[in-house]
């Protein structure tokens, strides 16, 4: 990838001779558990409060304390929030990585560092800003243990002064970080001020990067995808939640527990209108979801790769016995335990076919907090409409990073519980067959346990059964059943969220992507058009099975790039399975699987490489 990628970066660098306004990538290198998270979030927030579009990505190790951690903030006036490979301003706090980090910087970039690290002796093409952090906090925090925690926030002040973040916003942002701890807030604000003053007095100023107030974040919120998903579940009326902790999905459930405790204790009775169970493992977690969904609850669990693998057997049961339930898969890097704190879209193929035999699953593909909030609601509706599991395929990048978002909309539609028959409805029916395709859409009717009518009870099983839910080893019953399940999957195609298509005039090719690949693509499409004269169309997938729009999109283009964040081009493979040769012939796979949030630079270089290759008649 490197040659082209480098060229692009150089190009960007070349244009930076004048001051860049509201366009900067800040990289803060600290150690895990050193209290840097509050400092970084406050830094992000202060920029956000100035009205400048901003995003934050945390690159953290799979341990609890002491290992290197990086936080990248990108502020961009155009609203580009994807990761960039190039960093403009490094804050080097971690002795372990400082040298490595420094040598990754482009010439001319800015480096704030902890003075004892003496980084300035290592390179002479960098603008260095040494800061004696320990000295600065000593005055205000005599206790050495506490000091370690406050030390980081000093760089908020330094960076503020250096690139023009307003101190009032820095203070406000810090206060937001400590909503119920005014003392801690005050101390931190003091530390930031010390940093600001130090920078003002002792550090040279620079004119390469400058932040200026604008109005692009007004009315927006900052939220991580897991919390957004949790809010979606809250308003979807989830009633049974099960889980087994696993990074990066744990915070989805932990946020949800907070929300449920706050909003779902019945004011009249003082009792909970929900149940949360921390299960003994993921097998039990999905088993409980299945049991609850069967008995009528809106049930869900959240997990990541290893959990998905363990859920395989129950996934097949839910498919075959037709039981609703929602599973959030906040994907991380696999195979196996892999890199638990890195991001990847690696579970698509295994989830689509999760279980032995002919099992097929529905997946939703959110790419933003707004969308995962809404898809959470859709997932519960779809699960009950289809009487099947619905997997919401998030990833670590979406789930655990901070995103700017529009405030979420209150659900427009009432909750859709699908085809459930009450005692009254049963009374009117001549005949009720649990697995009968009455409506021709492959979706049968069901009754809930406890329905007081003699037609209601049926026996659910993962073994062969006829339309009346009776045990059957008859091969014709079996074929009918499996064909109907296929038909239901076709119906799912019509019910799942449609892709989002964005077009440009005279597009040379199409791009198909999904999930968090969205952000680099937005930026790259602009770059391709502006810098390379290449207009493109873009289809963002939002669900599997695919809807007809995908086929149409392929048909409309000479060729389309399919972008996957995994090694095996999993979405591309699913598309190959679905399509005929004409469409397959137009598909070109582009992949990235380094576990980092997909960067614009990477996507651009992948596409340009291909374009060059095809020009050279490969």
């Amino acid at each position: 990838m490197n040659t082209i990628g480098d060229k692009i970066q150089n190009k960007v660098s070349e244009t930076s001779v004048q001051t860049k306004i509201n366009d900067i990538v800040i990289h803060v290198a600290t150690a895990n558990g050193s209290g840097s998270q509050s400092a970084n979030t406050a830094l992000l927030r202060s920029i956000f409060q100035m009205g400048i579009p901003v995003s934050g990505k945390n690159l953290f190790p799979s341990n609890i304390q002491g290992l290197p951690t990086w936080f990248t903030i990108r502020a961009n006036k155009h609203g580009y929030v994807a990761r960039r490979d190039q960093i403009d301003l490094l804050v080097a706090m971690n002795p372990e990585t400082a040298t490595d980090d420094l040598f990754k910087m482009q010439p001319g970039s800015l480096v704030v560092y902890d003075e004892p690290l003496k980084l300035d002796s290592l390179r002479d093409d960098i603008e260095f800003y040494p800061v004696p952090f320990n000295e600065l906090v000593k005055e205000i925090v005599p206790n050495a243990k506490l000091r370690k925690l406050v030390r980081n926030i000093v760089y908020n002040g330094i960076v503020a002064k250096l690139i023009g973040i307003e101190m009032a916003e820095v203070e406000e942002a810090i206060r937001k970080q400590f909503p119920n701890k005014p003392k801690a807030a005050a101390l931190n604000i003091q530390a930031a001020q010390i940093g600001f003053e130090f920078a003002a007095e002792k550090l040279p100023s620079q004119d390469k990067f400058r932040l200026e107030r604008m109005d692009k974040t007004k009315g927006k919120i900052i939220i991580d995808g897991n919390a957004a998903a949790a809010l979606g579940c809250l308003f979807a009326g989830v009633t049974v939640v099960t889980w087994y902790p696993i990074t990066p999905s744990s915070s989805l459930i932990e946020s949800l527990i907070d929300y449920l405790r706050r909003y779902r204790i019945d004011p009249e009775t003082g009792k909970a209108t929900f149940a949360v169970i921390q299960a003994e493992d993921e097998i039990a977690a999905l088993g409980m979801v299945v049991g609850a969904g069967w008995a009528g609850a809106r049930s869900m669990t959240a997990t990541s790769g290893p959990g998905i693998s363990l859920m395989s057997e129950f996934s097949g049961l839910a498919y075959f016995a037709e039981i609703p339930g929602v599973v959030f898969d906040v994907q991380r890097v696999g195979p196996s335990t892999g890199l638990p704190t890195r991001t990847m879209q690696g579970d698509l193929l295994s989830t689509a076919f999760l279980s032995h035999g002919d099992t097929k699953n529905v997946m939703l593909l959110p790419s933003s907090p707004e969308e995962i909030y809404e898809m959470a609601g859709q997932a519960f509706d779809l699960a009950e409409q289809l009487q099947s599991l619905v997997f919401v395929m998030s990833d670590l990048d979406l789930g655990m990073n901070n995103w700017m978002a529009d405030p979420f909309r209150y659900p427009e539609n009432p909750i859709n519980r699908g085809k459930v028959l009450t005692a009254e409805q049963l009374e009117k029916l001549d005949d009720f067959g649990r697995y009968k395709d009455v409506d021709g859409d492959g979706i049968p009717y069901r009754t809930l346990a406890g329905t007081k009518h003699h037609k209601a009870p049926y026996f659910t099983r993962g073994t062969g059964h006829d339309e009346y839910a009776r045990y059957s080893e008859d091969h014709q019953n079996f074929e009918v059943l499996l064909n109907r399940l296929n038909k239901k999957f076709e119906t799912a195609r019509k019910l799942v969220p449609k892709p989002v298509v964005e077009k440009m005039e005279n597009a040379k090719f199409g791009i198909v992507a999904y999930g968090t690949s969205h952000y680099p693509i937005v930026e790259v499409r602009d770059a391709l058009q502006k810098q390379h004269g290449l207009a493109t169309d873009y289809l963002r997938l939002r669900a599997y099975p695919f809807t007809e729009e995908l086929a149409a999109f392929i048909d409309q283009h000479e060729y389309v790039y399919v972008i996957d964040q995994n090694r095996d081009a999993q979405m591309y493979q699913l598309m190959k399975i679905d399509f005929g040769t004409k469409r397959i012939g137009k598909m070109r796979s582009l992949i990235n699987f380094d576990g980092l949030p997909l960067s614009s630079d990477r996507v651009l270089s992948l596409i340009l490489n291909e374009e060059k290759d095809s020009k050279n008649g490969r």
């Binding site: 097998i283 406890g450 839910a469 008859d474």
Partner: protein
């Protein structure tokens, strides 16, 4: 072709119980288990227990794993929703189902393979949670459905028909259950109609996890010499832990009692349980003692039956979760979707 009749319709020609339900609703489909299988006897007791206890069959859910034993829910309570889950995982499915609708009465049937081998993890955690559920292990010391391999409750030294000898100590599910916090733990024998019926009734009335290990010989694979679970062996070696008889809706009897006497434990529905107290100072509400007793007698090679431990006071899972009284699964939208103001409030906090 399967039989075309799909539901058991109420048949008022049959004798009704006090709740007005006829016996047919408590019966199930024709068994496909082997003639003489202990599991069938258990199904029959279950039919009687629910019928005689006047339980509304439409409010019952019956669940199981996979195995001959786990097929049996198809052979009782045809008017109840049933769920034959996957092997060893009935506890989680039952937990979900009952959380979705706490007004249901749950009965779970498992086998010794289903519970003590593949399912021991879910068993352990079910016992800890005290989910209101009657949990029956139809315990034959082997895997019937896969043709007779040893399960983890097979006695050490017992032999398969092929001559293979079991080298491993059996798991005592009763000791485990008591230690793990189950609030009703008993053992019976499928051939002992009277005792099993009594225990079942007590279990049905209990408002927490009621675990019953029912020794249920597999006539096909495990009824041969060398097997300690065979009918002959059980009948020879069985010994009663206490005389158990169930007395529904009688007046309350004091639980404070002396060794050698009889104790009444009051169940939550007001029905009571009569136990003969062992002279060895056995008390049905002392965890440590009942475990000790069980291990002691086991060490002496005795098969003890009876109700070993009952604690009707312990909070069950619903209590612990402070669960709404209404079934979660059918709460109306107003109860489960917070108002728009809630969203506004949340959004404001995130701005």
């Amino acid at each position: 072709m399967a039989d075309r009749q799909k539901v058991v319709t109420p048949n008022p020609a049959l004798k009704l119980n006090q709740a007005g339900f006829d016996l047919g609703l408590y019966k199930g489909g024709k068994t496909t288990l082997c003639a003489g299988c202990g599991h069938n006897a258990i199904s029959e007791r279950i039919v009687s227990a629910f019928y005689e206890m006047n339980i509304d069959p439409y409010s019952v859910v019956k669940l199981s794993g996979i195995g001959c034993s786990s097929k049996s829910p198809a052979y009782f309570l045809s008017a109840s929703h049933g769920f034959n889950a996957v092997h060893g995982r009935m506890p989680s499915v039952a937990t979900g189902a009952l959380l979705a609708n706490r007004t249901l009465l749950g009965i779970g049937v498992s086998g010794d393979g289903d519970t003590a081998s593949i399912g021991i993890g879910q068993f352990v955690h079910l016992m800890r949670r005290n989910l209101p559920l009657v949990y029956i292990i139809e315990d034959n010391g082997c895997y019937g459905l896969t043709k007779g391999q040893f399960s983890a409750t097979a006695d050490i030294g017992s032999t398969l028909k092929t001559g293979v000898v079991n080298d491993f100590q059996p798991i005592d599910t009763c000791v485990l259950a008591i230690e793990l916090g189950a609030t009703f733990v008993a053992r019976s024998f499928s051939g002992d109609k009277k005792q099993l019926l009594s225990i079942l009734k007590a279990a049905i009335a209990h408002r927490g996890t009621a675990m019953i290990d029912v020794i249920s010989p597999c006539v096909t694979f495990n009824d041969h010499e060398g097997s300690t679970k065979s009918y002959a062996y059980v009948q020879e070696h069985e010994e009663y832990f206490g005389e158990v008889s169930f007395v529904p809706y009688f007046e309350e009897i004091n639980v404070d009692y002396e060794p050698g006497e009889t104790v009444n434990v009051t169940m939550h529905d007001g029905s009571q349980l009569l136990l003969s107290k062992l002279p060895e100072n056995y008390s049905p509400n002392n965890r440590a003692e009942s475990i000790q007793k069980l291990i002691e007698r086991r060490t002496q090679g005795e098969l003890v039956t009876g109700i070993f431990y009952v604690n009707p006071e312990e909070q069950n899972l619903f209590d612990r979760l402070n669960l709404d009284d209404a079934p979660l699964g059918t709460l109306p939208q107003e109860k489960v979707r917070p108002k728009p103001e809630a969203l506004d409030e949340l959004m404001a906090e995130l701005m």
